[in-house]
Amino acid sequence: MNASTPARNGIWLVAEREIGSKLRSKAFLISTGILLLIALAGVLFGGFASQNNDAMPVAVTSETATAVSALPDVEVTEVASRAEAEELVREGDVDAAVLAGDNAAGYTIVALEDAPGSLVSALSLSPEVVILEPVTTNPLLRYFIAIAFGLVFMMAAATFGGTIAQSVVEEKQTRVVEVLLSAIPARTLLAGKVIGNTVLAMGQILALAAVATIGLIVTGQREVLTTLGAPIIWFAVFFLFGFILLAAMFAAAASMVSRQEDIGSTTTPITMLIMAPYVLVIVFNDNPLVLTIMSYVPFSAPVGMPMRLFVGEAQWWEPLLSLAILLASCVAAIVVGAKIYENSLLRMGSRVKLAEALRG
């Protein structure tokens, strides 16, 4: 027997058990499968919707054929006379007919009920428009991506944060923790739990990123992928450390109670912290000030910074600075979390007060 087995061996054993017991849970596997399918469906739907710009069927005569054919998104049917063109409009074979006219524009547009706006503007002489602050990204796309980052962050963090909290309380409630602590130090146990659940959460994030990337390639949305590629990678990096931070907090909070029913009483504030970025990014995804603040606050940086990178508002050094802040808070959370965890783990019964847990 080797009594001097290094602590990392114990950490890995604990992590392995955490991962193994989760991977054997059917509920977990099924919900992950559903999540991946939803992500794939979302990307595919987005792809098809953007390709689905139906060309407008338009009837023309020989005088207008050249001018109309040059317009985008029209399907031209050339007819011999005005009467024939009107007939096609009436029967609904075409949406509109463009005929030669003697007005200033030189065209007459014939439509059945409503004026075809896009055709009218396409054939009109528009004044020159100068936009001082152009929107670089499609606002709808921006909104969906904000939801996607926010939702993925919230769901993954809540799922695996919840898992770590339950696992801590399960060990306390069943008292197996006393047996474990007679074999390994509390810090080893905590480290193993955090690492195990981080591996699981990262696995899920990477699977989602892979599905999104493949979906974008398959549906030919390469230009979205070019703008989204870097933010996705940054999201993964920020999520990694953001989750370690949250996992340490969840473990510490959960160690203060002794029964599963009481978990909520200490973990609710952390759950709020996870939900905040989701809500904020949906409401304020076009507000640069809120996004900038979010991109530096450790709890919302995993959502805020990739979002700013996506819309091109962040300077190259900003993600690095934000990551440094996140890392520092991560270290602080681990130190404080480990202290609370060590001090609370063997206190059974009523909830341990935070001051006592910190004092030891």
Partner: protein
């Protein structure tokens, strides 16, 4: 390799203003089973947790072979907490293998040991069942396997026999004796004084946070023997009542239980008894553990 002599000296512990352990000192010797008895709330579990490093003491020290106990030493300890604890949804063998690996065994070694030990404890048929599907008695056996699987040098067992049927008590007692025979130092607490009396080599009695008696079982019995003798003879033993220096405790026909004021008196009684007729038995009567216990905790 250390020998595993565990020594507690002057351990004190208070929760707030309530002192739960006061100057607790005793030793747990290798190769011996030390029984740890005391009433509810006497401080047994607290003492055990301090030995395991699960709690820190306010004062005093725990030494192993004369040097202060370290975390590395404690990895060679086995512990069975009073509140049983294993993962309910984990399979029996998987769980014991996991614990053995946490104690530093390789996977194949751990599997081999877990299988052998669980089989010895009568769980050979249930290796791949989850803990929660076992009866309480069988969960208890699994718990004992958890504390023994790494062949610990020092074993600390909090109430290992509670909840076991008499057959299971014998199985567990056998496993513990085998472990002691291999040189382990074993400290176990129990409320079942008859089991402790039968099993232990040494005894520690704790009451109100202080040690009331500690030493070898036989030594303690001799110490608490008050020159009480039992006589079984053919004739009527009524004559004893008029014998000087003798106080009869119990008497019926040829049977008498009496206290003598000294060994000389006892010898004189024996001689008169032999002179009066056939003596079937004459022996000093040692007090039971239950009697000693009641006596010392008062």
């Amino acid at each position: 390799m250390t020998t595993g002599l565990l020594e507690l000296s002057g351990i004190t512990k208070s929760y707030g203003s309530r002192r739960v352990l006061d100057d607790v000192s005793f030793t747990v010797a290798p190769g011996r089973l030390t029984g740890f008895v005391g009433g509810n709330g006497a401080g047994k579990t607290t003492t055990m947790r301090i030995i395991l490093g699960l709690l820190s003491s306010d004062g005093g020290r725990v030494d192993l072979d004369g040097t202060p106990l370290t975390t590395a030493d404690r990895r060679r300890f086995g512990y069975m907490p009073e509140e049983r604890g294993l993962y309910p949804k984990m399979k029996v063998r998987e769980q014991i293998v996991y614990l053995a690996r946490l104690h530093g065994f390789s996977k194949p070694e751990a599997t081999e040991r877990a299988t052998a030990l669980l089989t010895e404890l009568g769980l050979g048929e249930r290796l791949d069942d989850t803990i929660e599907s076992l009866s309480l008695g069988n969960q208890q056996r699994a718990q004992i396997a958890a504390s023994l699987v790494h062949d610990p040098e020092v074993l600390i067992l909090d109430e290992p026999f509670s909840g076991l049927d008499p057959l299971a008590v014998d199985v567990v007692a056998g496993v513990l004796q085998a472990s002691a025979a291999r040189g382990a130092s074993i400290l176990f607490s129990s409320h079942q004084l008859d089991v402790v009396e039968r099993l232990c080599d040494d005894l520690v009695i704790l009451a109100g946070g202080t040690i009331r008696a500690a030493g070898s079982r036989d030594g303690l019995r001799a110490e608490h023997a008050r020159d009480r003798y039992e006589l079984i003879s053919a004739g009527d033993a009524g004559w004893l009542r008029t014998e000087p220096g003798v106080t009869v405790v119990d008497f019926e026909g040829g049977y008498a239980l009496f206290d003598a004021d000294g060994p000389d008196t006892a010898q004189r009684v024996l001689q008169s008894a032999v002179a009066r007729g056939d003596v079937a038995s004459f022996a000093p009567k040692h007090p039971s553990l239950a009697q000693i216990f009641k006596e010392v905790i008062q």
